[in-house]
């Protein structure tokens, strides 16, 4: 092939090399690094004038770094007069609203170290002691959600009750997360986040338990709240806030958990949230599509895009390759009893995908459905896609730290033990179909926190499955997902190499199997470059060989 250059970004050079090997050409040289001030530096070492350029970059590791690097590479090739620039992004960034995993106290998991949290802009502008907030009524001073800083803005109409069943349960201790460090591997040696308390107030409380500093990510709110006083009965903000470290499991949790849950969009309080504005998380899919277009990409190749409607966000052609034929072939080759197996979708959203594979193989299909009904004493599970638009009330589901001595008898993470919710959580996954005595193959596109897969596996095992395997296209497995998989009842996890898997393999050993999508991508690149049709790649009868 002439006039073609395949570059690799720094996210997944192994896959790029595999692609180039199949194309029988060398990887084009580029120097990728960072300047001293952390700006990305890109130097393209070969001429790309009038060439077709393919840049392979996958969304893993630090996604923002990877994305900016990709954009700069595209831009560099564009102004170096490349003829056409194709971005090959096997795992697409910001393709969905990720399920926000939660720490014990309800705060969304983030990479921010504890010490930095108080510098965060997570705060509500905060009811300063100024007259501004008081003009909206005395209630506002104590509310964690003062109405907007511009006075005179009418409050959004709301229900009378501020205390919802959810908040009440949090307060009463029916649901009581504990606290763990961000690393989640050691048990609560420091408070994660200590919302609703100013450091001064909490430091006295800390001294009894730990010396670590307690940042307040909601500090401004904390200052306004009298700690411990109950000025008005029903207002959640006036609940006394125990220091997280001083209470063990089962004690009332700070309603800061609810506050943070609200901020993160996971905890939806029907009606009023103390001020009326319903927080929402920004979905950046369209923005990423625009950025790629503006940088100069002429074509996008991706694999198993989470939401196929994404293709419409772009102004350029998008080839959304499918690994389905590869999965089907893998199942036939590696499962001796595949004819009697059951394909299971771990949630309702993936039913279509899983059922297609089941049809191709001609075997049975089952589905696991997350119960979202609110029933007494049990919290519903967080919506996988984090859509706050659901009117169900959800509660942040806190993951148990792996090494926790108070870990529930179940190995997989569930809402904290010691509450009725433990039992409720397992039973609120409904299995539709029968799996008793059969091998189950879970099919999903993304395994990020692996809550879905592990919870589904638990449900299948308690419904009588003999073996549970999971085939996932993108094995992102961030945070402590790998440990979660290790401790779960999943017998085998099969992922593609759209995301580098060496680190995961070290921890999971034989439990993890990787199949190569380099062949599919290489074939797509070859055909696109030669101007041939790639519809054969979607044909289920023809699947490229997989390397283990």
């Amino acid at each position: 092939m002439r006039n073609i250059n395949v570059f690799s970004g720094s996210s997944h050079p192994a896959l790029a090399r595999s692609i180039c090997q199949r194309l029988n050409m060398p990887l084009a040289e580029a120097n990728l690094s960072k300047f001293a001030n952390r700006e990305t530096s890109v130097e393209i070492k070969v001429s790309v004038r009038q060439c077709d350029v393919y840049i392979v970059q996958s969304a893993c590791g630090n996604v923002n770094d990877m994305l900016v690097e990709l954009l700069i590479m595209i831009h560099a090739c564009k102004i170096a007069s490349a003829r056409r620039i194709v971005a090959v992004i096997p795992c697409f960034p910001y393709a969905r609203q990720p399920e926000t995993p939660y720490k014990r106290n309800g705060m969304p998991l983030s990479r921010v170290p504890i010490e930095e949290m108080d510098k965060f802009a997570t705060v509500f502008g905060g009811p300063s002691a100024s007259a501004e907030s008081s003009s909206s009524g005395g209630r506002q001073r104590n509310s964690p959600f003062p109405t907007s800083t511009a006075n005179g803005v009418p409050e959004t109409p709301a229900n009378g009750r501020l205390d919802t069943p959810t908040l009440e349960r949090l307060r009463d201790g029916t649901v009581s997360p504990t606290f763990s460090t961000p690393s989640t591997s050691t048990q609560g040696s420091a408070a994660d986040i200590v919302p609703l308390e100013s450091p001064a107030e909490s430091s006295s409380a800390i001294s009894s338990s730990s010396a670590t500093p307690t940042p307040s990510s909601v500090r401004a709110v904390g200052k306004a709240l009298p700690n411990g006083s109950l000025a008005s009965n029903r207002h959640p903000a006036n609940i006394s806030v125990p220091h997280p470290l001083t209470h063990s499991l089962g004690n009332p949790v700070s309603n800061a958990a609810a506050v943070q849950g609200l901020m993160s969009g996971s905890l939806h309080v029907p009606g009023v949230t103390g001020g009326g504005y319903k927080h929402w998380a920004a979905k950046s899919g369209k923005l990423i599509a625009d950025l790629l277009g503006v940088a100069g990409a002429d074509h996008i190749i991706t694999v198993d895009l989470h939401d196929p409607h994404f293709q419409g966000f772009f102004g350029v052609p998008v080839d959304n390759l499918s690994v389905e034929p590869v999965m089907v072939r893998y199942i036939k080759e590696h499962f001796p009893d595949w004819k009697k197996a059951v394909i299971v979708s771990p949630d309702a959203g993936g039913a279509k995908r899983a059922s297609k594979i089941a049809d191709r193989l001609g075997i049975d299909f089952a589905l696991i459905h997350k119960e979202r009904r609110q029933f007494a004493g049990a919290p519903a599970v967080v919506d996988k896609h984090g859509e706050g638009s659901h009117t169900t009330t959800t509660v942040p589901v806190s993951p148990s730290p792996i090494a926790s001595p108070i870990a529930s008898p179940l190995a997989t993470p569930l809402p904290s033990p010691g509450s009725a919710s433990t039992v409720a959580a397992a039973s609120d996954m409904l299995l539709v179909g029968s799996v008793a005595g059969r091998t189950c193959i879970l099919i999903d596109d993304i395994a990020d926190t692996s809550f879905t897969i592990t919870k589904a596996a638990r449900t299948l095992v308690s419904a009588g499955a003999t073996k549970v395997c999971a085939i996932v296209t993108h094995g992102i497995m961030s945070g402590d997902a790998v440990q979660r998989i290790k401790k779960s009842v999943v017998d085998e996890l099969i992922v593609s190499n759209t995301v580098p898997q060496e680190e995961h393999r070290k921890l999971l050993g034989d439990k993890l199997k990787v199949f190569d999508v380099g062949a599919v991508l290489a074939e797509a690149i070859r055909r696109i470059h030669n101007g041939e049709s790639i519809s054969l790649l979607y044909n289920n009868l023809w699947a490229l060989e997989t390397h283990e």
Partner: protein
């Protein structure tokens, strides 16, 4: 500030200022908001476990005048993505106008194609900001003011010069009896240094790197006379501070009594603080366009000039539709020094 009686540009009803802050410089944002008498708008900018940025907006911005304060510092790519996502979120939430306040513009140094296949990342950032939905950009001391031309939207390139001049007048007593000299540490900054020298009414000198053969260390040559004078090095950015440190040595060798450095953007990456500490510099003055409290702890020579009043004035004037040109030549009178600890 929250309620203005001046009818804003478009739309017939008055709207209010909403200030969003990203994670790159929350402290500066708080200062700016304080100067304006406002609270920061409610937003949570965090990361999901897979490192994707998550922006949760906590208050309505429909038809409001939104200002997003984010500087290119720390993890610059994260800061850039946070800014873009916040702009995009406000755009899709029907804000009337979105202004990005970026005191230190990211990737400003990649502003031209000086070798084959070099990306003009400054232009790419401009494209991305515009595409995300930014309507206006406020920045300070762009590395090259031509970067304003990369944008199709209006750009306000504020100057730190008035504040630097004020600092020199207040803190370098030799300035009054003209025993002071402004020096540019490289040829590229000559114009900037000369302008400041004119303003202060003092002399001007320049240090120039002599490019010898490839393996030889280039010598720094002083053009001008600094004997018996207090020298003030002026530059827009202090990154690794190699140039600054060497320039200070050259000036002392050539007879300067004391050497100060006044720099707008203090990046101070790598070993910069130890280079400054071991150099003959008396003081290094920087604006707080980039947060550097941790560096200031390591280097007692660092002094900070607060730009929050200038930014707050720019925001106020932009919102009210007043002229900003006052800020190009004057330091706005503020409430005095605010507690810089955020």
């Amino acid at each position: 500030m929250a309620q203005t009686n001046v009818l804003a540009g478009h739309g017939s009803t008055t709207n209010s200022i909403k200030i969003f802050a990203g994670n790159s410089h929350l402290q500066l944002a708080k200062l700016v908001a304080k100067r304006l008498g406002l609270d920061l708008a409610r937003v949570a900018v965090l990361k999901y476990s897979n490192q994707e940025t998550s922006v949760t907006v906590g208050e309505s911005v429909r038809d409001e005048d939104v200002f997003i304060i984010q500087t290119g510092a720390g993890e610059i790519n994260d800061a850039l993505m946070e800014l873009l996502i916040m702009i995009n979120a406000c755009r899709s939430a029907s804000a009337r106008r979105i202004t990005a306040v970026v005191p230190s513009y990211p990737y400003a140094r990649q502003d031209r194609k000086d070798k084959s296949r070099a990306p003009i990342t400054g232009k790419l950032v401009a494209n991305m900001l515009t595409k995300a939905g930014c309507d206006h950009l406020i920045t300070m001391d762009l590395h090259a003011s031509q970067i304003q031309g990369f944008f199709d939207i209006p750009v306000d390139n504020l100057f730190a010069e008035p504040m630097m001049c004020k600092w020199v007048r207040d803190n370098v007593p030799e300035c009054k009896n003209l025993d002071c000299i402004i020096v540019s540490p490289d040829a590229g900054g000559a114009k900037r240094a000369a302008a400041m020298a004119d303003k202060l009414g003092v002399d001007f000198a320049l240090i120039h790197k002599e490019r010898k053969k490839a393996n030889e260390v280039s010598k720094m040559i002083l053009v001008g006379d600094v004997r018996g004078k207090v020298a003030v090095l002026v530059d827009d950015m202090a990154d690794t501070c190699g140039t600054l440190g060497k320039a200070a040595e050259v000036l002392i060798e050539n007879g300067a009594t004391k050497v100060y450095a006044a720099v707008t953007h203090g990046v101070l990456s790598g070993k910069a603080t130890s280079i400054i500490n071991s150099s003959p510099l008396t003081k290094l003055v920087m604006t707080n366009s980039i947060p550097h409290e941790d560096k200031a702890l390591l280097c007692p020579k660092i002094e900070t000039i607060d730009i929050s009043m200038t930014l707050a004035e720019a925001i106020r004037r932009t919102h009210n539709g007043e002229s900003v040109s006052y800020l190009f030549g004057n330091v706005p009178d503020g409430m005095g020094e605010l507690d810089v600890v955020g």
